[in-house]
Subunit: 445 residues, 2 copies
């Protein structure tokens, strides 16, 4: 056949600079959605691009048959920004394979993983002429900005999206070749704080000492977010946190992960986190407060002796069951206002928010997913939670009333959200096999 | 005559983008020095551009006569960077006059003030054919980066720079029309701190909780620099601080300055400084720690959920008599290392440093300067200290053994170091008259 190879298809998908958070990439996002629709139609699925208040949602489905199970496979075609661009070894939207890994923005998160499912379905259709289950693909373009329009979309399309279970490959594998089932995710609350002082940058010699420095005050404000034990110091922050269960603490202790590997993987000079918890517990099941960016005053080479007129900090809080994102957002805002340093004012802008999620890995769908993973990788499955957020998982539960199976293919060193993001060719191929095994398990269950 | 007007000359001087801290402006700095040499020669002075390890020094002198007093008039032709460029109403190197004020980078600091002295001498020579004193002009190109090569230059040219006193117009006037004699300056210590964490930006969901966040840790480190009373919390920082004298506290209380005016001038939402001191005392005679710039992580629009690999802060400390800049630099470095937060490392880069200065305003040269100011503005002279740093003043004392008269012409709203820097035409003209009055007073003393 003269069809392009799976790698060719992935490269074409990766070449779209579909950065959802940056207005200048709006047309790239749209074109990427259009490419997906054409891909689905070429496979013989019915497909359409649905406009939203933001970026489009792509829906596709095979010819559904009554009495079969229906699985909704979710993914996203939008990607994170690429800066700092100078730290990439190759241009982020010119994919290439080096040492068996595909390098490009979105290679792992999430284009490589969702396309593996799509091409898995294509191969099954070419081989068998049919699928063993009803399939709905839902691929959105706003995951990296918190999926602001997806809940409304699900509500508006509730009937045609009725399904038995959701499958998502957007989480991680513990290590190469280790099949990993993720039964929990953290939620998120994002916000930005501007600390405002004088009407203009002031000479720090002439005025320094009598005028509050917004950059200094920003630092003092950020320093109030944690105590010395690494706990978040926002009042009430831990009130609704579900304690870790003994069985999962015990299971995680036996996983093939270590602090030494974490240090090697990240290159950090040392680990630091909440006292009383292991690194995996800190990352997977404890809430956090993180500075994702801060800035203010002179940014150039050398020195410029100013009191900057303002400074900013971008914050995200990761949440765990049973914290509520709206309640935490309100607690954080109250904390910031209560700790506003003297001589400055605060301007707080709410960002995206998403609920944490946990499902029972011993449920029938949980077991089906684990069998598919074991069949694909021929190895015992690791049961973990994960620190990232896919808020849409909770939304699927709220709106469609179904659980989500998280069957991730991302490796620990995939550099998602960072320069040189990559995805091994073997994981891409495993993803296509996993799709076939999963559809078979769901048909048999 | 077909000579250009003083304003034309100032505009030509201001058009050079002589930003000493930015390597890309190196040629502009050099060309500006060349323009000055030509100007001096056209007035009939002998003049030369002297190369240094950094930017050139321009020296000029009239034909000296034995038995006359010799005054060294110091200024600088380099300027601060212009960013944030978008906040300028007009391009910073295209001077223009709006409502009687000259707008351009360097208009006040220091091109307008030093050129007033130069043109004052030119006018006296044209009118009288001679000056009443021996004059040496020393105009350097590295003041805004801490004059790193001037001490060496003074030492190498000690003989030809022998003088009785130094005069500088690079300080402020309390208010329009209020002649102001500055008898003290703060010193400075600058340094930059990089807080380093993981080898690359990490996904803050996947890793957050177990890896120290360099931006968070930077904030915590900066927050250790002050206590709740606004005092600098570096151990030993205040050990050598000379207490304010009763006579100056009393004099300053009577000055026509108020906290309300300071708020109006700066647009700050409130004042904040060290408990127990008035605003003028805080700015003129108490030491400080200021953040001039900080940054790290995502700087764009929207959000990017990373743990940044590093973050930076640019700090300056203003010093007062009798603090020693080298000693303070060592204390600060020790403080930062001692307070290095967990899970990160620090990279500290020392910047420029300069000693604080104070002279006796009741000395003969102090009185001569005050008489010249009074004659120029026809009003009682305000005696103040100032918060900025002109480290070279202490260097003149050390190397040449002479005191410096500070006869500033900068207004409080001149926006030195900030966008829309400006200098009133009337202050430029007063500067030319002040030069004539000063040379006469020095001849008579």
């Amino acid at each position: 056949m003269s069809n392009p190879s799976p790698i060719d298809e992935l490269f074409a998908f990766l070449r779209f600079a579909s950065v959802s958070t940056e207005p200048r990439h709006q047309e790239d996002v749209k074109a990427c959605a259009g490419w997906l629709v054409e891909k689905f139609r070429s496979m013989g699925l019915s497909a359409a691009r649905h406009e939203t208040a933001g970026h489009p949602v792509v829906l596709a489905r095979n010819a559904h048959q009554p009495g079969r199970r229906t699985v909704l496979i979710y993914g996203h075609y939008d990607v994170q920004p690429v800066d700092p661009l100078e730290l990439w070894s190759h241009p982020p939207f010119e994919p290439r394979i080096v040492n068996g890994k595909i390098f490009a923005r979105g290679a792992t998160d999430n284009k490589g993983q969702i396309l593996a499912h799509i091409l898995g379905v294509e191969q099954a259709l070419q081989r068998d002429g049919d699928l063993p289950v009803n399939v709905i693909f839902l691929v959105e373009g706003e995951e990296e900005i918190g999926s602001p329009n997806l809940r409304g979309f699900l509500e508006a399309h509730r009937d045609e999206l009725q399904c038995d279970v959701v499958a998502i490959s957007d989480t991680g594998m513990l290590a190469p070749g280790v099949p990993t089932f993720t039964y929990g995710l953290r939620g998120i609350v994002a916000l930005e704080v501007k600390v405002k002082g004088p009407a203009l940058d002031l000479h720090s010699g002439i005025f320094g000492g009598a005028i509050a420095n917004p950059a200094t005050m920003l630092a003092r404000l950020v320093a109030t977010l944690h105590d010395a034990q690494g706990r978040v110091a926002v009042e009430g922050f831990y009130d609704d946190v579900a304690p870790l269960q003994d069985w999962e603490r015990e299971l995680w202790r036996q996983l093939p992960v270590s602090d030494a590997e974490l240090l090697t993987l990240t290159g950090a000079p040392g680990l630091f986190g909440e006292t009383g918890y292991s690194s995996t517990e800190q990352m997977w099941a404890r809430p956090t407060a993180e500075v994702n960016g801060l800035g203010g005053g002179f940014q150039g080479v050398g020195s410029k002796t100013v009191i900057p007129k303002e400074a900013f900090v971008k914050l995200t809080f990761r949440l765990v069951p049973n914290q509520d994102s709206q309640k935490i957002a309100a607690l954080v805002q109250a904390h910031l206002e209560q700790h506003c340093p003297p001589g400055v004012t605060l301007e707080i802008t709410a960002g995206h928010a998403g609920m944490p999620y946990v499902m029972d890995p011993h449920s029938p769908y949980g077991q089906a997913a684990q069998r598919a993973l074991k069949a694909t990788f021929v190895r015992e499955v690791a049961l973990i939670r994960e620190g990232g957020s896919i808020p849409i998982v909770q939304t699927f539960k709220d709106v469609l009333g179904v659980e989500t199976m998280l069957l991730g293919l991302a490796l620990p060193d995939c550099r998602a959200h960072a320069p040189d993001e990559n995805f091994p060719v073997e994981n891409f191929e495993a993803g296509m096999r996993l799709n076939a095994a999963l559809l078979k398990e769901l048909a048999n269950r």
